[in-house]
């Protein structure tokens, strides 16, 4: 016997959570683009998406976050800080790779300076993950030693029922239990079987790839130039990635006042490393693509013992020129053999 949340109870759940002061966010497709957005009715959810196009990252690390307002007076400059919102929320229908992505970035945002904009939101958010029953050609969680029903980062794991009428509920954390207490009476005990999880084929030999990347001489390998030849240097892979976390600080305003903001930035951009002198240490696209791979699979693991990739495959799925981490790691894991 397991506890089941039937889909027809979802509107009641939303109502309960709302009355408890918790807002609900979920996978939504609107204006021809999908992402995690605020939801008020169950019908707005789109659980059929293999994966929303935009990752969950933007809910914790918004693309443009105002940090403080400043006012320039003759004698002084007055500032006032923006704080991250403190409202509690549930993200319902998270994909396991997105949840895992958040967990990967936690150490990054907290290793020396605690980024309260991140952690405030992490604390206030319950991640209700739905295990994947389908995958597409770009999914690669298994290559990253994760699974379509990985628990990493999640507070609740839901497993879709075979007949698609609801989900088996697995409570993983206290926070998840808290949130589900509110709807406890809406859950039913049932024998209903969960649908099998999606089969995601392992696309590359991660260990081999990691070993190759660690070899100092491979830094200058011709491989980088070859693999990145068609890269056009846009930032779509980095911006859609659930774990990419680079940002830039910008002041925006007029003579009298303005706002200091934290904006996403991308190592793919030619100007990302441009110095004031005019020198650019990563002056070619191949150097930039190498940096992205090295960062995710060499430097980040070196520091946090984690690969900065949860295998969502967005980088490949939405690349305008059909590149991506999968291809690169596939190709370089071949090199070693």
């Amino acid at each position: 016997m397991t506890r089941i949340l039937f889909a027809d109870k979802l509107d009641n759940c939303l109502e309960r959570w709302r009355s408890a002061g918790i807002s609900v966010i979920g996978p939504v497709k609107k204006s021809n683009s999908s992402g995690y957005s605020a939801v008020t009715k169950a019908a707005e959810f789109d659980f059929n998406l293999v994966l929303p196009e935009r990752s969950i990252k933007e809910l914790f690390f918004p693309q443009s976050e105002p940090l403080m307002r400043y006012e320039i007076k003759k004698q002084e400059i007055n500032t006032s800080e923006f704080k991250a919102p403190t409202s509690e929320r549930i993200i319902f229908g998270v994909r396991p790779c997105d949840a895992a992505g958040l967990a990967i970035d936690d150490p990054l945002f907290g290793w020396d300076y605690q980024d309260e904009y991140w952690f405030q939101r992490r604390r206030e958010t319950v991640l209700v993950t739905i295990a994947c029953t389908k995958a597409d050609d770009f999914c690669m969680c298994t290559s990253l030693k994760l699974t379509p029903d990985s628990e990493k980062g999640s507070d609740i794991l839901l497993r879709p029922l075979e007949n698609n009428s609801g989900w088996q509920v697995e409570e993983l954390t206290d926070r998840g239990r808290e949130a589900f207490k509110i709807i406890a009476d809406l859950l039913q005990e049932s024998q209903e079987k969960a649908a099998p999880t999606a089969v995601v084929e392992e696309k590359f030999d991660l260990e081999a790839a990691l070993a190759w990347l660690k070899e100092p001489e491979n830094f200058e390998s011709h491989f980088w130039k070859e693999i990145s030849m068609r890269c056009i240097g846009c930032g779509s892979c980095t911006f859609l990635c659930p774990t990419c976390h680079c940002f830039d600080i910008q002041d925006e305003g007029d003579t009298y006042s303005g706002i200091r903001r934290k904006n996403w930035d991308s190592c793919s951009f030619a100007l990302f490393t441009m110095h004031t002198s005019g020198h650019n240490p990563r002056s070619t696209q191949s150097a930039r693509w190498r940096q992205r791979i090295m960062h995710k699979f060499n430097y980040f693991p070196g520091k946090f013992n984690l690969n900065s990739c949860s295998g969502c495959g967005r980088c490949s799925r939405q690349c305008p020129v059909d590149m991506g981490i999968t291809e690169t790691l596939q190709e370089l894991s071949k090199l070693l053999r």
Binding site: L59, P62, E65, P85, I259
Partner: protein, 149 residues
Amino acid sequence: MSEPFEPKIVAFVCTYCTYAGADLAGTSRLKYAPNVRIVRLPCTGRISPMFILKALQKGADGVLVSGCHPGDCHFTHGNYHARRRWTVFRALLEFTGIPLERVKFSWISAAEGVKFAEFINTITEDIRKQGPFDQYKQLIRDTESPATL
């Protein structure tokens, strides 16, 4: 509302014709609405579409752009280049939903002080009737609000 709406209008003008025309309106002591702020450029050729966008960001309810009549350009053909740019930029504004009533273009010569004064009065009244450019101002306000989610 007791206070009448006072539109904020930014004008980009060339120094040789329209700026001088505005000077003539002054020396002729013509009276016109005080809502326009003039930015002086050497030539209409120097007036970039981005000036217009920044004026809107600065909260302008209307923008006007003015220079020498065709054939009168001090720099022989800066205004011909400008005219093409305006044509294209106007189509762009229209297509993205910026009401064309809010961005006006004119030729006003150094001799047309009267035209200048009348033009300012007309555009001020026009924009007063349309009210504040709330749609755009909402975009500006959005930039000042904290991230919601």
